[in-house]
Every structure is written in C-alpha cells, then in structure tokens.
C-alpha cells in the first residue's frame, strides 16, 4: 500500500475515445493515471452532459471528492493491468468495521487486504465487518467472523476463521473468494427478479 499519495495541480485531460477525464496521481512518487468516466460525472457529480466542458466543470466543482475516491482506489490497489485507476458508476464504496481486538491484528489486516483485492474496484457499495467471537471455554481460541453485506439488497454472507486457518493463505483466499462469490450470486438473483 503506498504511503504517500499526491495529486499534482494540473488540468485534467479529456480522453475522447473513452468519454473520460484523466488526471494524474503520484503514489510514493510513481505516476498513476486516474480516469473518471463521463457517466460517473453525470450520475454522481452533476455534469449536465458528456461534453468536455461539462466534465471539466464537474471535475473542478468536485475535485476533492473525486481525488478522495481515487486515493481510496490507489490505497486498495485497485489498478488495472496498465497501472491505471478507472472510476465508473459502479466504483467500490467500501465501509469496513473491525471489532476492538481485531483492529491491530496483522492476520486480520492481511486477510482484509486479500478480501479488498478480491472485491475489486467495481463492486458498488459494500460493507465488511470483522468480528471476534470468544470460545465457549477458556482453552478454546476465539474465532474471527467476516461478513460482507450489500446494503442495496440487504444481503449478507459470512464465514468464520479459526486461529489455525491463518497459516494457509491459499485456502484463505479461496474461502474469501467463495464468500464474495456467494454475495455476487445473491446480487445476480436479485437483479434477475427485478428485471422481470
């Protein structure tokens, strides 16, 4: 995760072939191109139309918010194969909650990083909660439960990790991807029902 992310004060460039506005960020000194689609400008930042002037105006008016979203994407490593950040109407708005003892747990931090990597940059609004459950008896180690929630459809999927599960990162990635896949399946079913 880059520690220092800056946005140089330069005018964004209009990318005609993609209907995007592009601006540059510096992540630990390394340039990262950020692209914001015209569709996002219209739906979220009140651009009048898809014209270059409207997009530039919307960018000027909402620059800090756009940069904050771009920063979030860079921090989460949501870059494409060419090292660019694409902000679309479906950009991921991640809300994360850690229960008290887990906030500083390195295993949980690594697992959360894995999960955000799986969720990716185009998931819309997603809530992730990490909760610690103490064992029934004293000898039993506490288990960690992770839930992913789609607030739009009020669907939730959860899994639990025991202390022995942290060692095998491949199995952990598999389980987290299954968890995310289960929520996407619920979303897909919901869309099918909605579309009639």
């Amino acid at each position: 995760m880059p520690k220092d992310i800056q946005f140089p004060e330069v005018e964004p460039r209009y990318v005609f072939e993609r209907d995007c506005l592009g601006f540059q960020a510096l992540a630990d000194g390394k340039p990262v191109e950020c692209m914001v689609t015209g569709e996002l400008f219209m739906t979220r930042f009140r651009a009048r139309d898809m014209s270059e002037d409207s997009l530039r105006q919307a960018y000027r008016e909402h620059q800090s918010e756009i940069q904050s979203i771009a920063r979030d994407h860079i921090e989460n490593g949501w870059l494409d194969e060419d090292g660019r950040v694409f902000l679309t109407t479906r950009f991921t708005r991640l809300s994360v909650t850690f229960s008290e003892p887990l906030a500083s747990d390195p295993h949980v931090a690594a697992a959360h990083r894995m999960l955000t990597d799986i969720i990716g940059p185009n998931a819309g609004a997603v809530t992730v909660t990490w909760t610690c459950f103490a064992g029934v008896n004293v000898q039993e180690r506490p288990s960690v439960h992770v839930s992913v929630i789609d607030p739009a459809i009020s669907r939730q999927r959860s899994i639990a990790f025991q202390s022995k599960d942290w060692a095998d990162t491949t199995t952990m990635r598999l389980r987290l991807a299954s968890l995310w896949g289960a929520l996407l399946q619920a979303q897909s079913r919901n869309l099918l029902l909605k579309s009639g």
Partner: protein, 137 residues
C-alpha cells in the same frame, strides 16, 4: 405499472453483465487458488508415493527375512516337540503295560489263595465233624 423502457432494460442488462463479470472474476480467483492447492497436494503426494513405495519394499524384504527366520525356529521347535511327544507316547505305553502286568501278577495269586482257603475250610469242617461224631459215641 408502466412497462420498462428500452433504456431501463439496457440499464438492467448492464447491471447484470457487470455482476456476472464480477462473479466470473471471483470464480477465476477461486479457480486459481484451487489450482494452487491441487499443485501443492500433487507435489506432496508424488513425493509420498515414492516414499511409500520404498517403505513398502523395505517392509516386504524385512518381513520376508524375519518370517523366514521365525519359520526356521518354529520348525526346529516343532521337531523337538514331536520328538518329545513320541517319547511321551512310548513312556505312556510302557507304563500301561507295566500296570497291566502288575494286575495280571496280582490276579495270578487269586486261585491259589482261594483253593487254600477252601481247602482249609473243608479240613476244619472235617475235623469238627470228626470231633462231634466222637462226642456222640
């Protein structure tokens, strides 16, 4: 309720396509993880197969050698036991024969003793008779 417009239908389709694409991404991640796990498992198993084969071979050799040794020892022991058994049988036969002989010898005195007792009784009877007859005279 009014029917959906073409635009709304396209929006729905876009959403569905996006969700399916994300599902596909999640499946690719799962598939990659499974492939990695399978490769790890195969690697571990292939090493184990060779080890198991070697161990099995060694066990067979060890077992055969051990079994042969034990079998020879058992054979020797069995021969000794058979010899002992034969000796025991002979001793038993001899003992029975001796017992029979002793019984036979014991019974061989029987008629003589009986004859002596009967003879004695007859003599005693005769003497008593003679004595009684003499008293009558």
């Amino acid at each position: 309720m009014a029917r959906k417009t073409q635009g709304e239908r396209i929006d729905d389709l876009e959403m569905q396509a996006a969700t399916l694409a994300r599902q596909f991404d999640a499946y690719v991640i799962q598939l990659n993880a499974l492939t990695e796990l399978h490769a790890k498992g195969s690697e571990a198993t292939s090493g184990m197969t060779v080890k198991i084969a070697v161990i099995e071979e060694r066990l067979v050799v060890l077992d055969l050698k051990g079994a042969l040794g034990k079998l020879t020892a058992l054979e020797a022991e069995l021969a000794l036991l058979r010899k002992d058994l034969t000796g025991l049988q002979a001793w038993k036969d001899e003992l029975r024969r001796e017992k029979e002989e002793a019984m036979r010898r014991l019974w061989s005195f029987g008629p003589n003793i009986s004859a002596a007792v009967i003879g004695g009784l007859i003599s005693l009877g005769t003497a008593l008779l003679v004595l009684w007859l003499n008293k009558l005279r």
